[in-house]
C-alpha cells in the first residue's frame, strides 16, 4: 500500500466520522431542541402541540391545586411572567423547592387553547438562585429592571397575580 492510499484512508475515516457527527447534530437540532417560552409568548403564538418546550415564570400564589385521577396525583398551577398566565398540568411529585410565588421551569407541550401539559417540573435550586431563563423573562416583561438592583426576593412575589403584574408594569419593582 502506497503512502498516498494510506493517507487517503485516514482522510476518508476523518471525513466520514466528522460528517456523520455533523449530520447527526443537524438532524437532532431540527427535532430535539427545546425552546424556552414565556407565558405571554404562549398566549401570543402557541407552539405546535407536538413540540416540547420549556415554560418558565413564577407560580401564581394561590393557584396550586392538587387532585387525584384514580391513584395518580395531578398538580395544576398557573405560571406567569407578569403579563400572561398559563395553566400547567403535571402528573407526579412536585420538586422539594417548588413554592407558590417562586420561579419554576416546566417542560412539556402546549395544548390548545393555552393549557400546558408538563412532563417535568424543575424548581430553582436554592433561595438566591433564579433560573436564567426566568430572570430574562421577568426583565422582558418589565417586572424587574437590573438597573434598579437585584431581583425582588421570592417573598415579595408571593402576592403576585396577573392583575398585580399589569399594575406594576409602569413602575420597576422596588429592590428589596
Amino acid at each position: 500500500m502506497t503512502r498516498k492510499t494510506r493517507r487517503l484512508w485516514l482522510v476518508i475515516a476523518c471525513v466520514a466520522c466528522l460528517g456523520t457527527a455533523a449530520a447527526l447534530i443537524l438532524r437532532a437540532f431540527s427535532s430535539d431542541i427545546v425552546f424556552f417560552v414565556t407565558p405571554s409568548q404562549v398566549e401570543a403564538s402557541p407552539p405546535p402541540t407536538d413540540r416540547t418546550v420549556k415554560l418558565g415564570g413564577m407560580v401564581v400564589a394561590g393557584s396550586v391545586k392538587r387532585e387525584k385521577h384514580g391513584e395518580t396525583p395531578v398538580a395544576t398551577f398557573a405560571v406567569t411572567d407578569g403579563q400572561a398566565a398559563v395553566t400547567v398540568h403535571y402528573e407526579g411529585i412536585l420538586p422539594d423547592l417548588f413554592r407558590e410565588g417562586q420561579s419554576v421551569v416546566a417542560i412539556g407541550t402546549v395544548q390548545p387553547p393555552h393549557e400546558f401539559m408538563a412532563s417535568e417540573v424543575l424548581a430553582k435550586h436554592d433561595e438566591t438562585y433564579m433560573p436564567k431563563e426566568v430572570a430574562e423573562a421577568l426583565k422582558k416583561s418589565g417586572k424587574w429592571d437590573p438597573r434598579f438592583g437585584p431581583p425582588p426576593s421570592a417573598a415579595s412575589w408571593n402576592n403576585m397575580t396577573v392583575q398585580d403584574a399589569s399594575k406594576t408594569l409602569s413602575a420597576p419593582a422596588a429592590p428589596n
Binding site: 447527526l24 420549556k54 407526579g92 435550586h125
Partner: protein, 661 residues
C-alpha cells in the same frame, strides 16, 4: 498557630514560589544552566508545602468554628457534624479553588519527586509550566476569591450548609474529580515542554502516559461518583442529566481517553506525535474551561451553587492566556516536530487512530450540544435548551462503531495486520453478541437500546476472548494458563479489564433505558404493582433528627409472596433553612435497583394520603461498577513495570544537545 493569617500568608508565599518556579527553570533550561534547572524540584516541593499549610489552616478554622472568617461563617455552623465541617471547606467557591491549587501543587511535587529519570531540561520545563499555571490560579485565589477574608463583627453562628450537600458521596466527589481535572495538567506541561524543546519521541510518550492514565482513572471515578450522587440524593430516578456541569466533566474525559490511546502510538511507533501534543493541550484546556466556565455561571445550570459573574473576567483572562498561549505555541512550534510515518489502516495503530477519530467526533458532538444554547442566547437572544433526546440521537450512533472496533482493536498486531485471522479468533464473541442481540430484541424496546446492549456484550466477550487467547486457556493445562496470565504484562490485562468495564457500563445504560416507574397518591395500607413486585405502604411516621424532622415511610416489597425488603424512604424538613430534602430508599440485588421516594402528604390528618414514586431500575449498579472497573484497569496498567513513572530511558543519552532550542 494555624491562624487564617498564616494560611493567607502561606498562600501568598506559594504564589511567589510558583512564579519563581515558572521562570527560573525555564531560563535555566534554555541556557542549559544545571544550577538553575536544579532549583525546580525544590521550588515545586516548597510550593506544595506552602499550599498544604494554607489548606490545613482553612480546615483548622472550619473545625474550630472560627466564624470571623467569612467563608466559614457563610458555609458552616456549630451544629454541623465534624466530617462536613472538614469537607465543607471545598464545598464552596473559595475553598474549591484552594483545593484546585493544592492538587496542582501536589502534581508539581509529584513530578519533582518521581521524575528523577527524566532528562534535566525536560523535567525543569515541565515543572516550570506547572508553576506558571499554578501562579495564575493562586493569583485568582488571592485577588478575587480569598478564602481567608475576615468579617467584623464575627457572627455567633454560621449560616450553615445546603442540606443537599451534607452527604458523604458529595463530600469526596470534588477532590477525586478535581484530581482528575488537574492531573491532566501534567500531560499538558509535558506537551508544552516538548513544544519548547521541539522534540517528541517514544520516550516522551512513555513518560506522559502514566500521568495521563492516573488522571484518567481519577476523572472516571469522579464522574461516576457525581452521577451516583445525583441518582441517590436528588431522587429523580435518573443518573445523568446532560447538564452543562456534567458535560464539562465528560468532554475532557473523552479527549483524555483519546490521549491515553494515542500516547501508546507515540510510544510504540513514534507516530501521531503532533496529534498527541494537541490532545494533551485540548484535554487540559477542556478541564480548565469546563470547571471555570461553570463556576463563573456563564453556562446556565441546575448545579449553580456558586455563581458569581464578577470573577468571570479574571477567569476568561486566565483561560485566554493558558489556552490561547498554548495553542499559539503549538502553531509556532508544531512544524518543528518531525512528523511520524503513516501506517496501514488495518493494524493496531490504525485501530487506535480510529478510536481517536471517533472519540473526538463524540467530543465535538457533546461540545456542540453544550455550547449551542449559550451561543444562541448570546448572539440571537433566543433561549433554548438541549437535553437527553438530542444527546441520545447524536452520541449513540457514534459510540456504537467505537464499541465494535473496541472488540478487535487490541487483538490486531502492530504495523501490518490481516483482519480475517482476528475475526476468526473472535467468532465465539460474535456469536455471543448475536445471541445477546436476539435476546435484547425480546427484552428491550427501542432500536438504540438493543444495539447498545449487543455492543456491550460484544465488548465484554471480545475482552474475555483476548485474555483467554493470551492465556491459551483450554489449549494448555489450566495451571499453565494461570501461570501465563501471571506472566502477561499488566498493561495488557489492564486494557482488557478497562474495556470490559466499558461494556459493563454500557450494558447498565442500555438496561436503564427500560426503567419503569409509577407515581401514586395513596392512603396507608395500599398495595401497588410494579415490574412484578408488590409494594405495600405499611406506615408513615414522624421522627425527629438533630436539626430536622423527618417523615419516614415503611414500604414493604414482595416478589411472588416472598418478602424482598422493607424500605424507608423519608422526607426531611430542616428547621433553620426552611428547606426539605428527599431521602431515597434503594434496595439493590446488583441486577436491579428498587427505588422508592416519598412525596408530599395530602388530605386531613385523620385519613391522609401520601404521594409515592416507585422505580424499578434494571442493572442500575452496573453503570457505576463498570466505571470502577475501568479505573481499576487503568490502575492495573499503571502498575506495569514499563509504565512506572520515570522508569524509561531515552534511546540517546545526549538528549539535551539534540534539542532544538
Amino acid at each position: 498557630m494555624l491562624s487564617p493569617e498564616l494560611g493567607h500568608y502561606a498562600l501568598a508565599l506559594a504564589c511567589v514560589l510558583a512564579a519563581v518556579q515558572g521562570i527560573i527553570p525555564l531560563i535555566g533550561a534554555s541556557r542549559r544552566d544545571a544550577r538553575l534547572m536544579a532549583l525546580a524540584p525544590g521550588l515545586a516541593i516548597g510550593q506544595m508545602i506552602a499550599l498544604g499549610t494554607s489548606f490545613l489552616s482553612l480546615i483548622y478554622a472550619a473545625v474550630t468554628d472560627d466564624f470571623s472568617v467569612q467563608n466559614i461563617a457563610e458555609n458552616s455552623a456549630v451544629s454541623k457534624p465534624l466530617l462536613y465541617k472538614i469537607t465543607g471547606v471545598w464545598g464552596n467557591h473559595e475553598g474549591s479553588i484552594l483545593l484546585w491549587a493544592l492538587i496542582l501543587g501536589l502534581c508539581g511535587a509529584a513530578v519533582a519527586a518521581f521524575g528523577r529519570n527524566l532528562p534535566s531540561a525536560l523535567r525543569a520545563r515541565v515543572i516550570a509550566v506547572l508553576g506558571l499555571v499554578a501562579t495564575g490560579f493562586e493569583l485568582f485565589c488571592l485577588t478575587t476569591s480569598d478564602p481567608f477574608a475576615r468579617i467584623w463583627p464575627a457572627p455567633m453562628d454560621g449560616q450553615g450548609m445546603n442540606p443537599l450537600l451534607q452527604d458523604p458521596g458529595l463530600a469526596f466527589h470534588p477532590p477525586i474529580l478535581y484530581t482528575g481535572y488537574v492531573g491532566f495538567a501534567v500531560p499538558f506541561a509535558f506537551a508544552i515542554a516538548a513544544l519548547i524543546e521541539g522534540r517528541v519521541d517514544a520516550a516522551w510518550g512513555r513518560w506522559v502516559r502514566p500521568w495521563a492514565v492516573a488522571a484518567w482513572c481519577f476523572l472516571t471515578c469522579g464522574i461516576a461518583m457525581g452521577s451516583w450522587w445525583s441518582y441517590y440524593v436528588l431522587g429523580w430516578g435518573g443518573y445523568w442529566f446532560w447538564d452543562p456541569v456534567e458535560n464539562a466533566s465528560l468532554i475532557p474525559w473523552l479527549t483524555g481517553t483519546a490521549l491515553i490511546h494515542s500516547a501508546i502510538v507515540v510510544e510504540k511507533r513514534e507516530a501521531l506525535k503532533i496529534w498527541t501534543v494537541l490532545l494533551a493541550i485540548a484535554t487540559f484546556s477542556f478541564s480548565l474551561s469546563g470547571t471555570f466556565l461553570v463556576r463563573s455561571g456563564i453556562l446556565n445550570s441546575v448545579h449553580a451553587f456558586a455563581n458569581d459573574p464578577a470573577r468571570g473576567v479574571f477567569i476568561l483572562g486566565l483561560l485566554g492566556v493558558v489556552i490561547g498561549g498554548s495553542l499559539a505555541l503549538f502553531a509556532y512550534r508544531a512544524p518543528a516536530l518531525t512528523a511520524g510515518g503513516l501506517f496501514a489502516p488495518i493494524s493496531r495503530e490504525g485501530a487506535l487512530v480510529l478510536n481517536n477519530i471517533l472519540l473526538c467526533s463524540l467530543c465535538a458532538v457533546v461540545l456542540t450540544g453544550t455550547m449551542y444554547p449559550p451561543f444562541m442566547s448570546l448572539l440571537f437572544d433566543r433561549t433554548i435548551s438541549v437535553g437527553k433526546p438530542f444527546f441520545d440521537a447524536t452520541t449513540i450512533p457514534l459510540a456504537l462503531p467505537l464499541f465494535i472496533f473496541m472488540g478487535f482493536g487490541p487483538m490486531l498486531p502492530w504495523k501490518r495486520a490481516q483482519l480475517w485471522p482476528v475475526l476468526q479468533k473472535l467468532w465465539i464473541a460474535a456469536i455471543v453478541a448475536a445471541l445477546a442481540c436476539a435476546v435484547a430484541v425480546f427484552e428491550l424496546s427501542g432500536v438504540l437500546a438493543i444495539l447498545c446492549a449487543a455492543a456491550a456484550i460484544w465488548v465484554i466477550a471480545a475482552s474475555i476472548t483476548d485474555m483467554a487467547g493470551r492465556m491459551r486457556l483450554f489449549r494448555v493445562p489450566f495451571a499453565t494458563s494461570i501461570q501465563r496470565a501471571r506472566m502477561l504484562p499488566r498493561a495488557i490485562v489492564g486494557t482488557a479489564i478497562a474495556h470490559a468495564g466499558v461494556g459493563i457500563t454500557v450494558l447498565g445504560l442500555a438496561a436503564m433505558s427500560q426503567a419503569q416507574h409509577k407515581i401514586v397518591e395513596v392512603p396507608i395500607g395500599t398495595t401497588e404493582q410494579l415490574a412484578g413486585y408488590t409494594w405495600t405502604l405499611k406506615a408513615v411516621e414522624q421522627e425527629p433528627g438533630p436539626n430536622y424532622t423527618a417523615m419516614v415511610a415503611t414500604l414493604e416489597v414482595r416478589h411472588n409472596g416472598h418478602l424482598v425488603t422493607v424500605m424507608h424512604p423519608s422526607k426531611r424538613s430542616f428547621n433553620s433553612q426552611n428547606q426539605t430534602t428527599t431521602n431515597v430508599a434503594i434496595h439493590t440485588n446488583m441486577l436491579a435497583d428498587l427505588y422508592g421516594v416519598l412525596g408530599d402528604k395530602h388530605g386531613p390528618d385523620t385519613n391522609p394520603t401520601y404521594v409515592l414514586r416507585l422505580h424499578y431500575n434494571p442493572l442500575a449498579p452496573w453503570m457505576w461498577l463498570g466505571a470502577l472497573i475501568m479505573a481499576f484497569g487503568g490502575a492495573l496498567s499503571l502498575s506495569d513495570r514499563r509504565m512506572r513513572v520515570g522508569a524509561p530511558q531515552r534511546a540517546k543519552p545526549s538528549s539535551a544537545t539534540a534539542s532544538v532550542s
